[in-house]
């Protein structure tokens, strides 16, 4: 049951990405083309997600603990530091260039396309660089 919940969460997340159009890099890039051929769809993806997650999180956090875990595992940092803003900014540049962010990139692995593999391997390498710097 524990494991099924995780697997199911992953499938639902992936299906949500596909249905919403996030696995189409051109659609993502067109959302970022604010002053060109703008496709506002992705604002609706974020809106739909927050519309469910905001009240959902609120309800869940009223519970003492999660169903299969001892406690909630939430970020504690409150700092608005260079690392946060710079990291997010660099991420945005990569997102704009390829039209892919981590969720859609992983979901797209099962399209079995070489371009995606190159993207994902590079992305993992980028994360390992962060691990090297931070630790």
């Amino acid at each position: 049951m524990k494991y099924i919940a995780l697997l199911l969460s992953g499938i639902i997340f992936g299906v949500g990405l596909i249905l919403s159009g996030m696995t189409n890099p051109l659609k993502v890039q067109n959302f970022l083309d604010l002053f060109g051929i703008w496709d506002p769809s992705l604002a609706f993806v974020m809106g739909g997600a927050i519309f469910v997650a905001l009240p959902g999180f609120w309800l869940v956090r009223k519970q003492k603990k999660p169903i299969f875990n001892e406690s909630f595992d939430l970020p504690k940092s409150k700092d608005l530091d260079f690392r946060l803003i710079f990291g997010a900014g660099v991420f945005g540049i990569g997102w704009g260039i390829g039209g892919l962010c981590p969720g859609p990139a992983l979901t797209s692995i099962t399209f079995f396309d070489i371009g995606i593999y190159i993207f994902v391997v590079s992305m993992l390498f980028g994360m390992l660089i962060t691990k090297k710097i931070v630790n």
Binding site: K27, P40, S41, G126
Partner: protein
């Protein structure tokens, strides 16, 4: 090339993403931030419990496309580049940036904003701004 504006399917897809995030929070108390989930299972792993959670969630993500193909058919997909060098650079920036900034579109943009996190709001502004700027430069200045 233009893409069709799809408010309904995008809204519904977004709602599924939100549902998944609530499920993960309700069952394991974890944030459905994909960059964080991947980052925590890359070596060196700080907490062993991250591994089964991450692997199973990611395995679920990998099943989404076959699941969709089985029940709903083809998925519309248009690559923005078939240049492997560009895709590699883009992946590197996404991987480094999202992990260094502690989150991506899902962790900051969906979960963080839904928790009312100021950090996530700032991060979302930051990646949206550089995303808009990057595409502007690519399409209008470099003419790609």
């Amino acid at each position: 090339m233009e893409t069709e504006f799809t408010p309904i399917t995008s809204l519904l897809g977004g709602a599924l993403i939100g549902l998944s995030a609530v499920m993960l929070m309700a069952t394991y108390g974890k944030i459905a931030g994909i960059s964080g989930i991947i980052y925590r299972i890359l070596p060196p792993v700080l907490r062993k419990e991250s591994i089964p959670v991450g692997i199973l969630f990611i395995f679920g993500l990998l099943l989404a496309v076959p699941f969709w193909n089985l029940f709903f058919g083809d998925i519309e997909r248009q690559a923005v580049s078939d240049n492997y060098f560009i895709l590699g650079v883009s992946g590197l920036l996404v991987g480094f940036g999202s992990s260094y900034g502690n989150g991506c579109t899902s962790g900051h943009g969906v979960c963080g904003l839904s928790r009312g996190s100021i950090r996530s709001l700032i991060a979302t502004f930051s990646f949206m701004f550089t995303g808009f700027l990057t595409v502007y430069i690519l399409r209008n200045i470099l003419g790609l």
